[in-house]
């Protein structure tokens, strides 16, 4: 994991001191709310529907066990004993008090954490593949690139007041686990025909009220050109991005209105004016950062573990969990473990302080103290020996973290919705629970197979509903919540925006309608077809008919 250098420590500690004084000045009136609001937002502190909310950055979703324990302590001491994993891999606390926030920021700084870049029109916390450094699929670990971007973008004076917020994600596998095509800039680490490693730069993707899939800006960008080229791209955005209308201010609108060819030309022209060496970091600095992400001391193990196989045969529940929650590791004898935060009875992405401590302990015992958060609002232990998996599973069961539904219909992405969010138009958590309860039968879930339901409580789409196989948008009219449905969205490397089916549903109607839809899919699917595959084969018409059949 990356460790702060002296400069990082200085920045974070200075910010704590600054914010402590700013809170003091706010409380005694030397700062008005209008003056204070941008300052608190720069530290991730929002005023939400019922109370303050603090969003803590988890750069590229990587946490140490020490950091997780500190988050647990903060949840207990300053909040209500739990936290929430967001779709940007961050952690939110729903009930902090303003007077406690300086202490919280100090506690975060003590473990090299903060709330920078979790709000405002800046480059937000960079997200990445939660399997980074562990999956055999990747060309290289994407986290050094993400860390480079974090350092470049943190407090960059030219990018502190962009026309609108700016989200970047990085992956290094063909399998996209970070939804890079729905980002302002998506970066895919690739190799060219000569075997050189570089970057496929995708621009102008995004969700929100205008969902757009990103387009290629450069198919192959040499490694050393990354920062200068992104700097040129941001300059063009800063220059031409609209500031007169916040709903048209994202780069996706600029790229769409300008056209990708003309936009690319503008970026290349700007790039030609730069002195790349003034911006690019040296290979030595890249190597220094990369060294922080070197592999842990893996044991040399056979690819197959007899002990693990025996447990799979002995313990049926464990076998079911292993079938859904594990992923292939690059190192023989190891597995990537997904810990589901989607139990049937709690809100998606919520984790109690006790569970955070348990995850930290398990990371220490089984995964080199490493933890990842995912945009699907789950947790990953990236490096677990197969021979340890059964013991780990038993310990997860004890803290109610052994749900075996990763990738299934109850593994729902869901924003906080009207229950917490000041922007929301309808609730999303109760709907996700109602759907999860309807499909609670584990046999049925497995029979349905991979299914991504994503729910947003407003048009801003924090719940990624545009790219859900079944996407649900909560709205409200005359005091009544209703839910609009999209079908055929895809968050993977085959990214697609779902199509709206038609009129909205009440919560009760919608759960029944989804059940009919799922039953229909099971009836008509061909061998090996997932829901999204059947939808692509047959198109909207038959699914829509079933959805509105009642």
């Amino acid at each position: 994991m990356y460790r702060y250098d002296e400069f990082d420590h200085e920045i974070v500690q200075s910010r704590v001191k600054q914010f402590t004084a700013q809170v003091e000045r706010r409380l005694d009136g030397r700062l008005t709310e209008a003056q204070f609001r941008p300052l608190r937002l720069m530290n991730g502190l929002y005023l939400q529907l019922h109370a303050y909310m603090l969003r803590v950055a988890v750069p590229y979703g990587t946490l140490s066990s020490k950091q997780m324990r500190q988050l647990a302590m903060i949840a207990d001491k300053y909040d209500r004993g739990y936290g929430h994993i967001t779709t940007r891999q961050n952690v939110q606390f729903n009930w902090p008090e303003l007077t406690d926030v300086p202490d919280i920021l100090q506690d975060l700084a003590d473990v090299e954490m903060h709330g920078f870049q979790t709000s405002g029109n800046c480059i937000r916390n960079v997200t990445s593949d939660p399997y980074a450094g562990a999956t055999a699929e990747e060309i290289e670990d994407p986290r050094p690139t993400a860390e480079l971007l974090r350092q470049w973008s943190t407090l960059h004076p030219e990018f502190a007041f962009l026309p609108r917020k700016f989200k970047i994600a990085v992956v290094a596998s063909k399998t996209d686990r970070a939804v890079i095509r729905a980002h302002d800039i998506g970066i895919e680490i690739v190799q060219n025909d000569a075997g050189e490693t570089g970057y496929h730069i995708i621009v102008g993707g995004g969700l929100g009220r205008t969902p757009i899939i990103g387009q290629t800006l450069r198919a192959f960008l040499p490694r050393e050109e990354l920062l200068p080229y992104l700097e040129a791209t941001l300059r063009v955005y800063n220059r031409y991005g609209r500031r007169d209308n916040k709903y048209k201010a994202r780069i996706k609108i600029l790229v769409t209105e300008t056209g990708i060819e003309e936009f690319t030309k503008q970026v290349e022209e700007e790039y030609a004016t730069l002195e790349p060496l003034d911006i690019a970091v040296s290979p030595e600095e890249v190597a220094r950062i990369t060294a922080y992400f070197s592999d842990p001391d893996f044991e040399t193990l056979p690819a197959h573990s007899d002990a693990y196989k025996a447990k799979l045969l002995d313990d049926k529940d464990f076998a079911l969990w292993a079938e859904n929650n594990l992923a292939e590791h690059k190192q023989d004898g190891y597995a990537i473990v997904n810990i589901s935060l989607k139990p049937l009875d709690l809100a998606p992405g919520d984790i109690t302080a006790d569970q955070m401590r348990a995850v930290a302990d398990l990371a220490d015992e089984f995964s080199f103290s490493e933890i990842r958060t995912t945009h699907q609002q789950n947790i990953v232990l990236p490096h677990v020996k197969k021979s340890d998996l059964h013991a780990l599973y038993g310990k997860l069961q004890k803290v109610k973290l052994a749900a075996d539904n990763i990738g299934l219909i109850t593994d729902i992405i869901c924003c906080p919705g009207m229950d917490f969010c000041a922007l929301a138009t309808a609730r999303s958590i109760p709907l996700s629970q109602a759907i999860a309860q309807r499909f609670a039968d584990p046999v049925r879930q497995r029979a349905i197979g991979e299914m991504q339901i994503k729910i947003s409580g407003c048009i801003n789409a924090c719940g990624h509903h545009h790219v859900g196989h079944i996407g649900i948008l909560g709205l409200e009219k005359a005091g009544v919540e209703f839910y609009q449905v999209k079908l055929g969205g895809d968050a993977s490397e085959n990214a697609a925006v779902g199509q709206v089916t038609g009129p909205g549903f009440s919560q009760e109607e919608l759960v029944d309608s989804i059940e009919r839809l799922v039953d229909y899919y099971i009836d008509i699917r061909e061998e090996g077809e997932r829901f999204i595959d059947s939808f692509k084969r047959l198109g909207m018409a038959p699914f829509k008919e079933v959805l509105y059949a009642a």
Partner: protein, 106 residues
Amino acid sequence: MSTLKHKGKGPQSLTANELREGMNVWLTAEFEWSRDYGEALQTEDEAVMEKMQAKGDADENDNLVVGVYFIDVEPDTGLPVRYREKFRVKGPSYDTADELGLQKVK
């Protein structure tokens, strides 16, 4: 200073958030702030509303509350008209802390 003057129809209540703790509050008949909407002053009297606005502005200036604004109230139920405001009154319909009996450990 509040920028949201009374523009609503029918009975009105005045709401805000506590500056320190952030919680939702409503102005009572005693011109105090309460976290209990049941104690909220509801009035159609423009003169009273002017006094409420003045109290809100004063308490915002004194750094007690933030984001003061009037809300429309349903005459028959006494509840806020807007769905969002109903939610501010009721609190979350779901909160993991309530579900599991979790509390701040200070």
